[in-house]
Symmetry: C2
Subunit: 343 residues, 2 copies
DNA sequence: CTGTTAGCGCGTTCAC
DNA sequence: GTGAACGCGCTAACAG
């Protein structure tokens, strides 16, 4: 990484053109400029005048000031996306890109803000930018919800909500992920599952619902409950957990990992212990990162279609933003099992 | 991933507090409110009044409108970070977080925008937010630079510039990464290197300087030039490339991979071909992703301290923003070799 | 000393 | 097609 910071050149920045400039250039009033450029309906302005205005605008490279417009309309075109402080997965860039692209189609601008640890200033952020909508990865805190209401930001979306119970939010997809992991292991004959839970607290929001999905599946099929072990992202920690699963009664024969990284750690632990044949537990990950396919053995995992998720989120938000009825149905899970050799 | 889009509740949104509200509540004028909350120097306002104002502000949850402030001052507190459309690495979340945290310390707000593919609208973006500074990952296009000037945005930074030659920009760190890979292989006795170049064009910006670093090192040490092969992120592609490197005269004995993912693919290819002993090439990656430590064999790689890089970028930008002299020295590379078993 | 009045910045929109 | 007011915070000039 390298920086190239450049500052003001000798050229004094030309003052940017305002609507007054355009009005003068076209020989009309500022009101007319506004009507023409916004194509305000129910305004009768001659085609000739309209052309003059448009030409003047492009000649001057006029672009309306977002600040002034926002001030007047009380709301900006910005959709704010709050990022969790935790390092996000690989598909996350694609998710944001897709979200941005879809929102841009309807004239909205996606701006992402990495939440600093101290949330002090963060809560003030959307008071300052008056976004049209706020999209959060984690759930909003009660204070944040209060602020949303207080500011009249009435469109909010939570990606991966932790709340269990509600139909639309509810960590629905994360539970589905857990279910799918368990279902696959069950369908390949395993009856005693383990769950590799991440030791970093900030992942708990996602890990909880995933584990929950596994647990519910086990109940439904009458399996023993999954044996949960918390582990760090190290081979030593994986070895530790593997020993405990092996020592459980009845012994755990297959493990759902929180994600591919933890699954890969388990695979490394298995090699370290030299487990083979029936004593070698099956492992399923989540994410289908590139490394999953290159692991030894290649990792079976649950792939998430983050682009589809992004489109779904964008649609939901746009629906509300444009005053259309929100969709009733919850989104279809966009997950799929990628079967390789580890399970 | 799951969404929970909520709309306006039955509660009519309370109008947000403005400085007028605070002034009324505190029994002072709006000017006083402004002076107190901004701690404007050379203003003598009694401690008692100040307290009244501050209390009123917090009671009303007052936060100044960014739009109004920006309109007046002609510049916002926002530092815009333009993200490439390509999926970014894992440390990227941490990079943004660190950047955000550091800028927040000085009152600036980092907002990241994932650039859509069609750059049409991108140009309108910073007209919308009138950022105080723009940080880009890729280089600016000439048009974008023109816009920067036209809008009077005089502080810009490029992370990982592709331009070779300049001291401060110049893909300096990316070249250092390539150098470090090559140096390590050289120091372990290898004399004929290969380079695994990514097939996706959007990575070329970073891959070019890295390869360049390897090439320059080879020239300096009198080695044969690195043999470059473009590969996809698949085992088949890796196998293909490995065969060609083995068939080269003289045969390539060690490979610098664009990043860890490509390195892991090569490791998988090596296992697939059953290469061992002297016929097994050494492999060095870049990034030190978690999977690197769990690979078979564990992957030797170049770790990048993205947090340090973020701090550096933040410092550079803040220096300019606050009118201090830009630093002369280019940043120190924040990279380190992580020695494992693959090389 | 302590605090106020008034006008600005720029696009939007109602009333004429 | 236009005049004028408005949204909100900043700040120079000024008054008690």
């Amino acid at each position: 990484v390298t920086t190239n910071v450049s500052g003001a050149a000798a050229i004094p920045a030309t003052r940017r053109a305002t609507s007054t400039d355009v009005a003068r250039e076209a020989g009309v009033s500022r009101a007319t400029v506004s009507f023409v450029l916004n194509e305000t309906p129910h305004q009768k302005i001659s085609a000739e005048t309209r052309n003059r205005v448009r030409e003047a605008a492009s000649r001057l490279q006029y672009a309306p000031s977002a600040a002034a417009r926002t001030l007047r309309k009380g709301r900006s075109d910005i959709v704010l996306c709050l990022l969790p402080h935790a390092p996000l997965g690989a598909q996350f860039g694609g998710f944001l890109g897709e979200l941005s692209a879809r929102l841009a189609l309807d004239g909205f601008t996606l701006l992402a803000h990495p939440r600093p640890n101290d949330d002090e200033r963060t809560t003030q952020l959307w008071q300052r930018v008056s976004p049209a909508a706020v999209i959060a990865f984690d759930d909003f805190t009660p204070e944040e919800e209060a602020i949303n209401r207080a500011l009249g930001i009435d469109v909010t979306a939570v990606v991966m909500s932790a709340e269990a119970g509600s139909t639309s939010g509810a960590g629905f997809s994360n539970r589905q992920i857990g279910r799918l992991q368990a279902r696959h292991l069950w369908s390949t004959g395993h009856r005693h599952l383990g769950y590799a839970f991440p030791d970093e607290g900030r992942y708990a929001v996602y890990a909880g619902p995933r584990l929950n999905g596994v647990e519910k599946f086990c109940v439904e099929k009458g399996l023993t409950p999954p044996v949960r072990h918390t582990m760090a992202l190290t081979v030593a920690s994986a070895v530790d957990a593997l020993r405990q699963w092996a020592a459980a009664v009845p012994p755990v024969t297959a493990i759902c990992a929180y994600n591919d990284n933890f699954a890969l750690a388990l695979l490394a632990g298995i090699r370290h212990l030299g487990l083979t044949g029936p004593s070698c537990p099956a492992v399923v990950g989540v994410d289908d990162i590139p490394a999953a396919a290159f692991a030894q053995p290649p990792l079976t995992t649950v792939a998430v279609d983050s682009a589809a998720d992004a489109r779904h989120v964008a649609e939901s938000v746009l629906r509300r933003l444009e005053g259309r009825r929100p969709r009733r149905r919850a989104m279809k899970p966009t997950i799929a099992l990628v079967r390789r050799e580890s399970a």
